[in-house]
Symmetry: C2
C-alpha cells in the first residue's frame, strides 16, 4: 500500500534524512571516480553518482557538480575548469569502500589517491590521472559548463576522447558487459549494490513483441 | 588486460554497435517511466534512463531528452513544455518488458498506456498520469529547460511536488530501500538487472575509517 510522502513524515523530519530520501528517488545510480589534476600538478579524486549519458556521436557525458557546498567534487570542478580535462573510472566491487572514502572533505593539497591508496595511472600523455584498478577508464575533454540556476549546480558537458577497458567484455552487438566487470550501482547516498542480469531485450517496435535475447 | 578502444574495433564499426558501447560507459542507469498528457488530453508514456538527482532542497531532478530524433521521449517533451508537468515512475522487475516497449515509435495519437497495457492512475488532481503498478511515483513541475548545444539535446530541470511510495520501504535514516521495491537497473540500451545490496557505508570523514553499517 502506497502513501503520500511529505517532509512531515516521522522519519524524514530532519534535513539529512530528507536528503537521503530524495537521493533515493531517481533509482539506481552509476558510480564513477573523477580523476583530475591542477595545472600545478595537484591530483584530485572524487566519487560521483550524477553522471548521465548525453549522446554517442560525438560521445558525450554530462555530470552535475555542486560547487558551493564543501563537497569533495568542488576541487574536481576547479581542476576541470582550469585544465579542461578529467578522467572517469568505473567503481567495482573490489574497491567501492576506497571510492566512498574520497567523498570525505580533504583539503585541496591532499591527493585522495594517496589518502585512499587508490593508485593513479597516466596513459598516453593525458594530463589527468586514471584509476589504475578500474576496469573502465575514460579520458574526457570539457566542452561546456551550464550553470543550473535553480540550485546553483553546474552541469558539465564533456567529450570522451580515450577509452580503456577489457576487450573480452565487449559483446558482439557492441555493448559492454559491465556486470562481468563488477561495476557497482548505488542507491541513495551510501548503499552499494552488485547486479544480476535479468534480461537483454530486443529493440522495441510498434508491430512486434519484445524478445528476450 | 585492458586495451585502448576506438571506433575501428572490429565489434564497433557500425553506428548502432558504437552507440551500444558508448551507452554502456556511464555505468548502471536508473529506469523510469515518464507519464505526461497534452492539454487536449492525449496521454503519453515513455521509458527514460537519463534521469539525474540534482538536489534535495528543493527536491530537483534533471533529465536529458533528445527531441530531434524519432525517439518516443519527443512526445513527452512536447507535453512537458505545453503543460509544465509530468510524472516519473520507477520500473520494477514485474513490468520492465512493458516499460521497454514504450520506446517503440508510436504515433502521437497512440497512448503507450493503452499499447503496453500499463494502467494510468490519476492522483490528487495532478494533470499528468502516474503508472499505477509503480512502487515509486513522483509528480513534477517543470522549472527550466536548458538547451545543450553540443548535441541538440534538452536538459529538463523539474521540481518534485508529490511522492507516493510504500511506507515500509523507508528506512530509519530516511533512505528508501529501492531494492526491496524491486526497482531495476539498466546497462547500455537494453539490458535489465536486479540488484543485491553489498553494503551500506558510513558518512566518509578524513580522520575515520569507513564502517559498513
Amino acid at each position: 500500500m502506497k502513501i503520500k510522502i511529505t517532509k512531515e513524515h516521522e522519519k524524514l523530519k530532519d534535513k539529512r534524512s530528507w536528503a537521503s530520501f530524495i537521493n533515493s528517488l531517481s533509482g539506481f545510480k552509476s558510480v564513477n571516480l573523477i580523476g583530475s589534476k591542477s595545472s600545478e600538478g595537484q591530483e584530485n579524486l572524487s566519487v560521483i553518482s550524477s553522471l548521465v549519458h548525453l549522446g554517442s556521436n560525438p560521445p558525450l557525458m554530462g555530470l552535475v557538480i555542486r560547487p558551493h557546498s564543501e563537497d569533495a567534487p568542488r576541487h574536481s570542478l576547479e581542476n576541470i575548469l582550469e585544465t579542461h580535462c578529467f578522467t572517469l573510472n568505473h567503481v567495482s566491487t573490489d574497491f567501492f569502500i576506497k571510492a566512498h572514502q574520497t567523498s570525505a572533505r580533504y583539503p585541496r593539497d591532499v591527493s585522495e589517491f594517496t589518502a585512499t591508496e587508490l593508485e593513479a595511472e597516466y596513459i598516453d600523455s593525458f594530463h589527468a590521472p586514471y584509476v589504475k584498478d578500474s576496469s573502465v577508464q575514460m579520458g574526457l575533454k570539457l566542452r561546456s559548463e551550464y550553470y543550473i540556476k535553480e540550485n546553483k549546480t553546474h552541469f558539465i558537458v564533456a567529450e570522451i576522447e580515450n577509452i580503456y577497458t577489457m576487450d573480452k567484455a565487449i559483446l558482439n552487438d557492441g555493448s559492454l558487459n559491465i556486470e562481468e566487470l563488477k561495476t557497482v550501482a548505488l542507491s541513495g547516498l551510501d548503499t552499494y549494490h552488485s547486479t544480476n542480469k535479468i534480461s537483454k531485450l530486443s529493440y522495441a517496435k510498434t508491430n512486434k513483441k519484445i524478445e528476450e535475447l
